[in-house]
Subunit: 211 residues, 4 copies
DNA sequence: AATGAATGAGGTTTCATTCAT
DNA sequence: CATGAATGAAACCTCATTCAT
């Protein structure tokens, strides 16, 4: 069999096994059993159990990044639309690649400092983007006084929490888009200055969200 | 030595070790070494490594519950105060015993289904309380239209995210109370109906929060 | 069982197994089987298979060194006696513990650079002693012109060769002392200047060796 | 490619790899990598890793034997010359192909009984030749009383020891011929009867050796 | 109640060899 | 002839748990 294909199969098997049993409970034995190859074959493609996990992490990281669009901060009316698109993109990825991505991200924080750092980088990337966005809006005077960093972390935490419920616990089984829209409006109204409230509500309506 | 005391020492040692190395990397050897007892002694007090972890989890659960006050939903003006108090209580507990926080936030969800369920119960308890609160307010017509369950999860996720940053990464090192106040106002204004905005701002001011 | 005793048993088992099968063919399984302990017990006392081998090497090194007496170079008539004593001491040790000899002579040089260096040190120690002795005698003018270093290596090589035959192949089964005496006279007469031949023969006779 | 050539390439690669890493540390992977052929190709030419080693041993054995001349024991004055020539021939071969020497001197004795026996045969061939020579001389009454077998082994051991130092440790870096000459004179004078000393010295001088 | 030596199942990893292409 | 992916037995090592003292 073609090596690239075999490697993919092993990655896939590993992903499933890690998702089902978690990194520690999963053995290389489980992975090769699922991939239906001999034990040694695994080690032709990966140096260790650790490495296959890292490879999965890299793949997830890369795929996620590819799916995110830049959101221009210049045209205010596109920002909210852009945010929503990105949130939906992330959710769609997690939905497509069901529990696996989640488990990977959750385990990685615990596996070792390197993996944890990797995941933290992803989070930080999002946090920083939000932070800039908030600061930008703040300068335009359309926000209540609030700490952009703290708020950014709160938003990310909330999104993560919702994802966790939906992906892992299969709770909050609303239609795909609705959940993100709900979240978005929660935050938009949570941060905006009352004076500009009607403006925001307008933007929300423009993209199809009732206030 | 008095058995109760010995057990406490072991729990304490285990807590530190788990916090430092994580559940899997930590060995019973590490725990007994830190507790300065023989290996066998450990098994006089706990049936297994798993059990000592569960015991820690139980203890945390119990302590946390003890620290939370009921928030009466009858007197609207006390609700926000009560929420803030509870959030601060949780934060104070985690601050006091951040090793414990580490364990709960990071490990328990992953260890096995029992532990995960246990942590989930804690989360659910808070979610349900928030949900009732939101529903209550919604009936009073002071909230924008929003999904109480989703919103509750978002709030819990945000709080958890902030805790994670503060406890584990030692980021967001603002003064203790400020962070919770910030979070609170973020949500209060995120959920409230514009018409009642000024009322909410009043309540916030009453408890010493600028809007 | 007392740890010191258990460790000794394991060392002993390892020695026998290494002697019988060689380092590579021998498995930890063989060692623990011979010692009649569980596999894990081995690792309570030694970090690895390598380590137990090194421990054996160290022990041999130490024991051998303890058995060697200093040979004073001041009194010429005692030198030959001293040399003979030392050669016999070494031989006796190898005779007593021929498994050890086997291991050292045959395996250590190949295992890795560290072990090889260790064995080489032993050889070098002897070579250097001989070298000094030869230089000493050369200054007194009682030797033919020869290269002390080369000669020292030749002597050590010859002795090693004889040991190998006797210990491993069980050839050259002469009485214990005789072999060393033979070797000694071979070299004494190989290096001495013809003019001092009679003097050397006298010394040899003094210690009971016919020329 | 011509099969014979390919086989030679593999033998050569194996020789280098064995010399560098030792038999056990060397893998078939190393050999085929160096030979720049695929893994399976190796097994077209050799049944196993063991076999390629044995083949190298055979080749060495054969080459060495080809390089040795018979030394006639009838004409005494040619014997010493012949011995020296043979020793130099051996040394030259090892010098030319020191990887081979490394393998033989260091590994073959340990690999298994067959290989060990093979090397031992070579040694025994030399020992027996020397033994006959010594016995021959002894009958002519030109030797001190000594055990021919023991002496033969001593000589072989000394030569081997010197080779080892020169080939492996790169010590004793004298000019090629000198070392062997030195060794020869050491033994000649070590074994000869004092009465015939001058005769021996004459022979040595005849072939260009100072006494 | 306390000890700590002993256990052994279970894990990861290696590598000589095979075989379908 | 040549390839190189696949094999799987066997090696080493760990560590939660037990048990005789």
């Amino acid at each position: 069999m073609e090596p690239t294909q075999r490697r993919k199969e092993l990655l896939d098997a590993a992903k499933q096994v890690f998702a089902e049993k978690g990194y520690h409970a999963a053995g290389v034995a489980d992975i090769v059993e699922r991939a239906e190859v001999a034990r040694g074959t695994f080690y032709l493609y990966f140096k260790s159990k650790r490495e296959v996990f890292t490879a999965l992490l890299d793949y997830t990281f890369q795929t996620l990044m590819e799916r995110l669009h830049m959101v221009s901060m210049d045209q205010p009316e596109t920002i909210i639309r852009g945010l929503l698109d990105n949130m939906s993109a992330i959710e769609r990825y997690f939905e497509e690649d069901s529990e696996q991505a989640n488990i990977i991200i959750r385990e990685a924080m615990l596996l070792d400092d390197d993996s944890a750092k990797r995941v933290d980088e992803m989070r930080q990337a999002v946090v920083e983007f939000l932070e800039q966005l908030l600061t930008h809006w703040q300068k335009q005077g359309i926000l209540r006084p609030l700490d952009p960093v703290l708020t950014a972390h709160a938003v990310v935490g909330a999104v993560r929490g919702i994802f966790e419920q939906r992906m892992i616990h299969r709770r909050l089984e609303a239609g795909e888009g609705e959940v993100m829209e709900h979240l978005l409006s929660l935050f938009v109204f949570g941060i905006i200055d009352p004076e500009h409230f009607e403006l925001a509500a307008g933007h929300m309506r423009d993209i199809g969200l009732e206030d």
